[in-house]
């Protein structure tokens, strides 16, 4: 079920009413878990068993790690099997065809290749398997006392409630399909009885309006023109349109994904839960290092905590640091999809991060004041990031190169209609970033001024959602 669909418009009020109808934690967690499974299986009910198995395995593994009297060897084995299960599920559904093509002999590939290639990618699998990994790794570190909100055997935990809470954590519908990726330590301590009077209405409503605005008005309208970034359609377009389209896709991708994350955060607030922020005006970044602190922050944080640091991070010498950086970015790229273009995209980011590390730019503060030079740096960083996004729209590497070559050589008069659309629907993203850039100045506004501006801006966005939405479509990150 999509957040921008009629079934969801009926689903949400029903779940909301049922949730607050009961006052006990068991009822509320039960309602939210059951409705999350309905949400997940709405279009593809056959995916429900997969989610249920993933929840069960991670519940069982984390409970086994929480039990007292386990030897280190036993605990290590549980962790290993849980990781194998999570990574194996992800690998099978996402990378079976890619790996099969690489390792299988031609004869065997021709036999099972078509079957491997036909395995559908279950929506949200990249997200809920990462949450499963975070849970078992945190459980491994915590031991029998458990983690805050999810007690182990020595902390007074009970097996039934443990399974229920873990299933809820993995399946909670606002973040199930495309994040934000919530770590165990960020979520379990929030589980408890919720009251209508505790709902932060203003914060929820504003977040939801901004999220729906970015998705329905910005991303869905830009999608109409960026569809032209497709082979061979782009061959007919003049350079100016080709260049504008790359930037438009960059804005669309941000609006689509940040929109989804904001809707998820706003919805979770309605049920009394706070999800971590996922975006912080990423195109204001003045370096790639800063970009990754502002873009898909929960993925960056997950990769840092569960991959980069366990690999040794930057504590094992310069050479190992660069090696870890490349590996994390390479795998982070592949996480987006089973195509080499994603790996190239990740590696390119890795190279840029390494260059910044070499020149010491990674140490520069994100909150330094703006100057002419830093505006130029932000533009260069934005342009580098933007052109690398091209690999998301043209996963065939050769086509991406052809696109750039056409951009550099093709003349012709601009196609004004597409430029008009790009200008209209990119503008809100630019203004949103300007809003972020003037934050220090905004802090000097009186409370009344700030309040008025906020009300007018959100009222205008709501007006545009009602009148100026684009064609409804899926969120881009569903495919990852």
């Amino acid at each position: 079920m999509s957040f921008v669909s009629w079934p969801f418009a009926l689903f949400l009020p029903v779940v909301f009413a049922l949730h607050y109808l009961g006052r006990s934690q068991g009822w509320q967690v039960g309602v939210l878990t059951l409705s999350s499974f309905i949400f997940y299986g709405w279009s593809h009910p056959r995916l429900i068993p997969l989610l249920a198995i993933a929840c069960w395995v991670n519940s069982a593994a984390s409970w086994a790690l929480f039990r007292s009297g386990q030897t280190d060897r036993q605990r290590r084995q549980v962790l290993l099997w849980a990781l194998v299960f999570n990574l194996g599920t992800l690998g099978f559904f996402k990378y079976a065809a890619l790996i099969g093509r690489l390792v299988l002999p031609e004869a065997l590939w021709s036999l099972i290749g078509p079957w491997l290639s036909s395995i559908p990618l279950p929506v949200g699998i990249s997200f809920f398997t990462f949450q499963g990994i975070s849970l078992v790794v945190d459980a491994w570190h915590a031991g029998s006392k458990g983690i805050p909100g999810l007690p182990g055997e020595d902390g007074g935990g009970r097996v039934g409630r443990h399974y229920g809470n873990v299933t809820f954590f993995k399946a909670f519908f606002p973040q199930l399909v495309a994040g934000p990726i919530v770590k165990a330590g960020e979520f379990f301590h929030q589980i408890g009885p919720k009251r209508l009077t505790q709902i932060p209405w203003d914060a929820s409503v504003k977040t939801l309006i901004l999220g729906f605005f970015l998705k329905m008005v910005v991303a869905d309208n830009l999608k109409e023109v960026t569809a032209a970034i497709r082979y061979p359609e782009f061959l007919d377009l003049p350079s100016i349109n080709l260049a504008a389209l790359v930037y438009a896709f960059s804005f669309q991708l941000l609006a689509d994904f940040a929109g989804y994350s904001l809707i998820a955060i706003g919805l979770a607030r309605l049920f009394g839960y706070e999800l971590p922020a996922n975006f912080n005006h990423p195109y204001l970044s003045r370096s790639i290092t800063e970009f990754w602190r502002r873009w898909h922050m929960t993925l960056s944080s997950w990769l840092r905590e569960y991959l980069y640091i366990p690999l040794g991070g930057n504590r094992s010498g310069e050479w190992r640091t660069y090696q870890n950086l490349f590996l994390v970015m390479f795998l982070g790229g592949l996480w987006h999809g089973a195509a080499w273009s994603y790996a190239v995209w990740g590696t390119a980011h890795g190279v840029l991060l390494a260059l910044e590390r070499l020149t010491g730019r990674h140490r520069v503060s994100d909150s330094r004041p703006w100057s002419l030079l830093s505006i130029l740096q932000a533009f260069l960083c934005f342009t580098a990031v933007t052109f690398l996004w091209l690999l998301f729209q043209l996963p065939e590497f050769g086509q991406a190169v052809l696109y750039l070559r056409t951009l550099a050589t093709q003349g012709g008069p601009p196609q004004v209609q597409a430029l008009y659309v790009i200008a209209c629907f990119s503008l809100p993203v630019v203004l949103w970033h300007l809003w972020g850039a003037i934050e220090p100045w905004r802090r000097t506004w009186s409370r009344q001024t700030s309040d008025r501006v906020t009300v007018v801006l959100h009222g205008s966005m709501l007006f545009l959602i009602l009148t100026n939405s684009g064609p409804p479509g899926e969120f881009i990150y569903f495919q990852f």
């Binding site: 009629w6 906020t454 709501l462 684009g470 064609p471």
Partner: protein
């Protein structure tokens, strides 16, 4: 209870803006063009389904879509609606027409790409004409395609551009000689739709328009469109071949679609012949 005062004021601001826009919207002319294909199609479908029932209907692709209803003013064919859908098969337009209890007296069916199969875009448009969104748009005027602020602005800018002549290009040499089809596939769905329209008392006339770089290499020779027309056995208005005789050549905005002035002349010629 946590504060919800901002939320209420946000709703009030949105309601006030909707009210203001409703008033402004009435003062402005309705846009005939939209900034994206989807919006243009939505606009045409909404006008067809909700406007007064037309006596004459144009069904076709984005090529015939350039024949704006305003170009027919004073031609004696005022009660005309254009249901040409950008990037869609003309069969979709016919299916929408057949979905109505009463069909128009005359359907002008554009011959270009008639053999194009129905694709995902067509399914999306058919769904658009039936879904919950459709019901919402028919009940709440402000949510209609021609009320979109960006569409109204685009329509206004284009109407000014048209008055100043707009951007035109000469057609390049044909890149699609004779449609490149070796044999014309027999579009069964199309034939069924045409027969059903005729059975319901509608006269169906094929129209052939100039299509820039997709015009045939040899204008006099027989091509796919001729074969198809012959196959369907329908009366035809061949504006493409007629326009070859005109002193002023046909111009295109992008090498394929008619420039406003040429579209206006073709609309007048079409009205003259359709009335007969």
């Amino acid at each position: 209870m946590q504060s919800a005062s901002q939320s209420l004021r946000i709703l009030i601001v949105a309601a006030v803006l909707c009210g203001l826009w409703s008033v402004v919207r009435i003062q402005l002319p309705k846009p005939e063009l939209a900034e994206t294909n989807y919006t243009a199609n939505r606009m045409r479908i909404e006008r067809f389904l909700e406007g007064p029932k037309p006596k004459c209907l144009i069904v076709g692709t984005s090529i015939a879509g350039r024949l704006l209803p305003s170009y027919f003013k004073g031609s004696g064919l005022e009660n005309i609606v254009n249901l040409s859908l950008d990037g869609a098969s003309p069969i979709t337009g016919l299916q929408l027409t057949l979905g109505q209890p009463k069909t128009p007296d005359l359907v002008l069916l554009e011959a270009h790409r008639l053999w194009n199969p129905v694709r995902a875009n067509d399914h999306q448009l058919l769904a658009l004409s039936q879904g919950m969104d459709r019901r919402l748009h028919s009940e709440v005027t402000l949510t209609k395609a021609d009320s979109r602020p960006t569409t109204v602005l685009y329509g206004w800018l284009k109407s000014h551009q048209h008055q100043e002549g707009g951007q035109v290009t000469e057609a390049k040499g044909p890149v699609n000689p004779s449609g490149v089809l070796k044999t014309v596939p027999r579009p069964e769905e199309l034939i069924r739709a045409v027969h059903e329209l005729e059975a319901r008392g509608t006269k169906v006339v094929m129209i052939r328009l100039p299509v820039g770089r997709e015009n045939p290499v040899d204008p006099k020779g027989q091509d796919d469109v001729d074969l198809l027309v012959k196959d369907l056995g329908l009366p035809t208005i061949d504006l493409y071949r007629q326009s070859l005789e005109w002193a002023e050549p046909i111009r295109y905005s992008d090498g394929l679609h008619l420039a406003p002035e040429s579209a206006r002349r073709l609309a007048c010629a079409l009205a003259l012949q359709a009335k007969r």
